[in-house]
């Protein structure tokens, strides 16, 4: 079952990683580019993407990174995780970025680069 953590509507291309994200250490909020080479989305930009990743890890200040990405115009338009964590949930709440938690099956079925539409008020949340 898909669970809504932060409400909203978005449409964009999926950027998917299998690495849990430490937003503070891994993403440059001035550019939106992943600058930690240990990530499989190294050098990719999260800007305007539907960012799909297992869950957030590490620094609690990563919530500010998410907010800064938004203020700087480099944020993902939505986030989809397999497990909710407080850093990503609270960062998305303040930055007004729709956020969902999906089942492992759904997570595995999401393809990188595909267009996705999200509407948390609709009966089909993900299209």
């Amino acid at each position: 079952m898909t669970k809504v953590i932060v409400q909203g509507k978005a449409k964009g291309l999926v950027l998917k990683t299998h690495n849990p994200i430490n937003f503070l250490g891994a993403i440059d909020n001035k550019t939106g580019i992943v600058h930690d080479q240990k990530y499989d989305i190294f050098e990719k930009s999260v800007k305007n993407s539907v960012l799909v990743f297992p869950h957030g890890i590490g620094s609690s200040v990563g919530a500010y990174t998410i907010y800064s990405l938004k203020v700087n115009g480099n944020a993902p338009i939505a986030m989809i995780c397999q497990k909710a964590d407080l850093t990503v949930a609270s960062g998305c709440a303040l930055a007004d970025i729709p956020m969902l938690v999906v089942t492992p099956e759904k997570f595995n079925s999401i393809e990188n680069g595909k267009e996705m539409q999200i509407d948390t008020k609709s009966t089909e949340i993900i299209n």
């Binding site: 669970k3 809504v4 953590i5 932060v6 849990p20 430490n22 503070l24 250490g25 891994a26 909020n29 001035k30 930690d36 869950h55 957030g56 890890i57 590490g58 620094s59 609690s60 200040v61 990563g62 919530a63 500010y64 990174t65 907010y67 800064s68 938004k70 203020v71 700087n72 497990k83 909710a84 964590d85 407080l86 850093t87 990503v88 949930a89 609270s90 960062g91 998305c92 709440a93 303040l94 956020m99 938690v101």
Partner: protein
């Protein structure tokens, strides 16, 4: 998540924009933790104080909300980027950093927080009674509070702890309840582990564990090792609690931490065989650690620059007890209100590599400050880098 009438009104904006924002955050974190209601908390420890970590967007946000926001419960704060008492000794730090850092400091003070600027609130204050609900954002402090302090907190985020400070509430997550079913036991296989080994164990446990882990095979580590364990664990994952246990016949999944596992983590974090400077403290050093350090340094001097980070409160106590004398005579620079992690005090134009015994420090030195790291234990630092 069920809100009371009053909470719902605050969420609808009837009590002003700041509280509305706070309740929006609590609603999201409540959903994220499957909580059914909000409960009162007694103490919030906030992260998001260093300008290097929260940037212009964070500075502006805090300046805006601090115009009318006031904390409702005891609130303490994480380190800033710098020690303003020593700022004139660090010429490379630009005026913009100083101005923005002061603005952030002043915003927190305006909101009524205690200006502790420390990642080790457990070294400064007596902890409240067992099972008290708190909201600690700093990951090492949250893990310490749950695992060694007998308190209850989620591994809060900067915003969820701020929302808790402003409302006095937090979602009643499963983690805050009494039942503890810990699904994994890490078997410590290293003999005579030092604080670096405990830091590496923590980093490993954070990677493989979920929200809590058992650790077996460990006998009464000292405080320095316990803090290193908390720091390492908080850096690498979502784990918010550990429990030392020697029960091995339970049903939890067993994972070994031996030489091989340790070397793998070490090689991930250690990128240099020497450091241009030394830093001690992430987490910031406590009074006992400064006392130990002053004893270890008797008759010795650092052969390179060594920055030693501790909280202002601990520094003042150490000065009264004369622990600082031997450390400063040996060339150590004692700095407060800041920490190894993301401090601009390390001049990257002059410093290519840093020696530290902190696993947490190593991660952020490499990934955020952008310098190479030479990771070794305190006793090895004293042996190799002092004369």
């Amino acid at each position: 998540l069920e809100l009371t009438k009053e909470e719902q009104e605050a969420l609808d904006g009837e009590m002003g924009e700041t509280l509305q924002t706070a309740y929006r955050i609590l609603l999201a974190t409540g959903e994220a933790t499957n909580a059914e209601k909000l409960i009162p908390i007694k103490w919030a420890h906030l992260s998001g104080v260093n300008y290097n970590t929260i940037g212009d967007a964070g500075e502006e946000f805090l300046r805006k909300i601090s115009k009318d926001a006031q904390v409702k419960v005891k609130a303490t704060v994480n380190p800033m980027g710098v020690d303003f008492d020593h700022i004139s000794e660090f010429n490379h730090i630009d005026d913009e950093f100083i101005e923005k850092q002061k603005s952030i400091r002043d915003s927190y003070i305006r909101m009524g927080v205690e200006p502790t600027f420390s990642c080790t609130p457990y070294d400064i204050f007596d902890l409240p009674e067992k099972d008290t609900q708190v909201s600690f954002a700093e990951s090492n402090a949250a893990i310490f509070a749950n695992s060694l302090g007998g308190l209850k907190t989620n591994k809060e985020s900067a915003f969820s702890a701020l929302a808790s400070a402003l409302t006095g509430k937090s979602p009643y997550s499963d983690f805050r309840k009494d039942e503890t079913n810990i699904p994994m036991t890490i078997r410590m296989k290293l003999e005579h582990p030092n604080e670096l080994d405990f830091g590496l164990l923590g980093f490993f446990a954070g990677k493989v564990g979920d929200t809590a882990v058992n650790i077996s095979g460990v006998s009464q580590p000292n405080r320095r090792s316990c803090k290193a364990l908390c720091g390492g664990m908080g850096t690498s994952g979502t784990c918010a609690k550990f429990q030392f246990t020697d029960v091995e016949n339970d049903t939890s999944e067993k994972v070994d931490f031996g030489k091989e596992e340790m070397n793998k983590i070490y090689d991930e974090l250690n990128t240099s065989d020497k450091g241009d400077i030394i830093t001690l403290g992430s987490p910031q050093l406590g009074l006992g650690e400064l006392s130990d350090l002053s004893n270890m340094l008797k008759g010795k001097s650092f052969q390179k620059r060594c920055m030693i980070f501790c909280s202002r409160a601990v520094q003042n106590q150490a000065r009264n007890l004369d622990y600082t004398k031997e450390i400063e005579r040996a060339g150590g620079e004692i700095l407060s209100d800041c920490c190894t992690c993301l401090t601009p005090l390390i001049d990257t134009n002059e410093t290519d590599s840093v020696t530290t015994n902190s696993v947490k420090g190593a991660y952020y030195l490499k990934n955020s400050t952008g310098v190479d790291v030479n990771l070794k234990s305190l006793s090895k630092i004293i042996e190799e880098d002092t004369k």
